[in-house]
Amino acid sequence: MAQRVARGRVSKPGPALQHGKYLFIVVFLLFPVGIYGLFTVSPYLQAIWISLTDWTGLTGTQTFIGVENYVKLFEDDQFMVALKNNAILLVVVPAVTVLLGLFFASMLNVGRRGKSGVQGVRGSGVYKIVYFFPQVLSVAIVGVLFKYVFAPTEAGGILNGLLRGIGLDSLAKPWLGDPDFAFWCVIFVMVWAFVGFYVVLFSAAMQSIPKEIYEAALLDGANRFTTFRHVTLPLVWDTVQVGWVYMAIQSMDAFAFVHIMLGIDGGPSRAGDVLGVAMYRTAFNDYRFGQASAIGVVLLVVTLTVAVLFLRLARRERVEFS
């Protein structure tokens, strides 16, 4: 019995547990599997089929047309804009968010060197609470808030008001109305919303690093950067890696940010379009369901590729300490 306690796999129940087992299993799985199958699995499978048909709101019938929807997609300039923007999101948002998260977390947990060795800066508890604020707010709230932060002055835009206030009138512009800036504003807001999450995540990992290691590094005369590079980073690398993949996958879903801040067309000249918004627009504005599902499949393929690639490439020897 005692060994069984610690085992982490499906444990074989003793004979007593066999009685009435199958009825119990069926009853317990019926509703979870049923609801999941009906609202999640079946739509996913249908979507893959629909992406191979010419189904639109007008035809009402689903005729198999092979990969024609996909061919059309890659000939469509607007789709390429959305795809390019998703690629930008995929690279920029995780990179900036994870780096800022690491920087702030190391400041807050091991950033201070003083009499009592290495510790977090003063007030780090307050910062950890405050930085996490955006994470608990709905994306809709964040989106609406920043729609007005970036708004023109005559609509109460606080950023332009601030720039004018400090004499930088030339920098004031209709941020979300400018094709060159609209999408970057969205990226900024996404980073703003996610950094706190990674600060907390990395903080938890850094808190579990034994303080003696830092004391040893300090005695050996390692400077901050060396300590970070050779002590902190390797010991939280696992978390960074997982966090990076998680952020990469999350950044692919910029739907709510773009939909709220830039609208269903993805902003001026559709310059801020992303796959999620393009898919939604194609399906529920243009009623081209086949085409829309093809965009969804592309999004799936990109997400899967990213997850597999990142996990493969970023794998490193795990550092153990006890």
Partner: protein, 308 residues
């Protein structure tokens, strides 16, 4: 407030020819610089929220002419305008109804599935487990088109159709349950696996049925795990945006996040910004208060998903 002035290292022996790098004069400057960075990000996080809160008490004129000043009088009528005229009250209630159905149901069904999958061997166990967990990687967008029609068609089924279909709170809640299954099952399966088998066997020997074992022994034991994943789901369901946008298109059926976004467009045109900001504050204040009260648990619950 956050900058730290270095004191000499007490334990260090009297002045040495070279200072220990990292501790000393340069360290003080670096600490100051780091403190500044932290402060700047702290302001960047809080100022937009403060601005929204202050703006919600202003007149539209004050909002436009002097964005940073405090209002002359606190205009509470903005809140009543947001609540009734702008329909935020209705959206708020709608959100509560949906979350009140979806979260308990997610927890119950998720725990049931996770428990069976983690504790019982039977043919198909692995297939079902991976079908659930595989959902973690699928983008919700792929499902949107068929999901819309699945839900719409459910509305035409006799008898149960009355309660389901588009614009039904129950449907939306069930869809939330379905899309929360992957993470909930994944998390709770891992959790149930760590629970000792001996207690379960003792309970069975004592004459406990499988059902009794689950509800009276295993579920109470899994409380810490249920709380983490429950908080995760409460926030996730409360903040959900794309699913209600697709499934709830009648004006009085919108949920808070969706209604607020729609309001931002219509209210902006009408020029009634302060009612919009009052709506924004109504939406963000409860979540922020819950978070500040339970910040340790919320942070743990939300980050648990990545760490497991």
């Amino acid at each position: 407030m956050t900058t730290t002035v270095e004191r000499p290292v007490a334990s260090a022996p009297a002045p040495r020819p070279r200072r220990t790098p990292g501790v000393g004069v340069g360290a003080g400057a670096l600490n100051l610089l780091n403190g500044t960075f932290l402060l700047v990000w702290g302001l960047l996080t809080t100022l937009p929220l403060l601005w929204a809160m202050v703006s919600s008490f202003k007149t539209n004129r004050e909002f436009l002419t002097d964005p940073w000043a405090l209002p002359d009088v606190a205009r509470f009528e903005n809140f009543s305008r947001a609540w009734t005229v702008a329909n935020i009250g209705q959206y708020f209630v709608n959100s509560i109804i949906v979350v009140a159905i979806s979260v308990p149901l997610t927890m119950l069904l998720g725990a049931m599935a996770a428990y069976v999958l983690s504790r019982y061997e039977f043919p198909g166990n692995r297939v079902i487990y991976f079908a659930f967990v595989g959902g973690l990687i699928f983008p919700v967008f792929l499902a949107l088109v068929p999901l819309f029609f699945v839900v719409r068609n459910l509305g035409t089924v006799p008898v149960i159709g009355e309660f389901l279909g588009l614009n039904s709170f129950l449907s939306l809640a069930l869809v939330y349950v379905a899309f929360s299954m992957p993470f909930t099952v994944f998390f709770l399966t891992a959790f149930f696996r760590t629970q000792p088998t001996s207690i379960a066997e003792a309970a069975i020997v004592d004459g406990c049925s499988h059902f009794g074992l689950f509800f009276r022994v295993m579920l109470p034991m899994a409380k810490p795990g249920l709380i983490s994943v429950g908080l995760f789901n409460v926030l996730g369901h409360w903040n959900q945006y794309v699913l209600p946008v697709v499934l709830m298109n009648e004006p009085d059926r919108k949920v808070l996040a969706q209604g607020l976004a729609a309001l931002a467009i219509s209210q902006g045109y009408r020029g009634d910004w302060t009612a919009l900001f009052a709506g924004l504050v109504i939406a963000l204040l409860p979540v922020l208060i819950v978070y500040i009260l339970f910040q340790k648990q919320v942070q743990a619950g939300l980050t648990a998903g990545v760490l497991k």
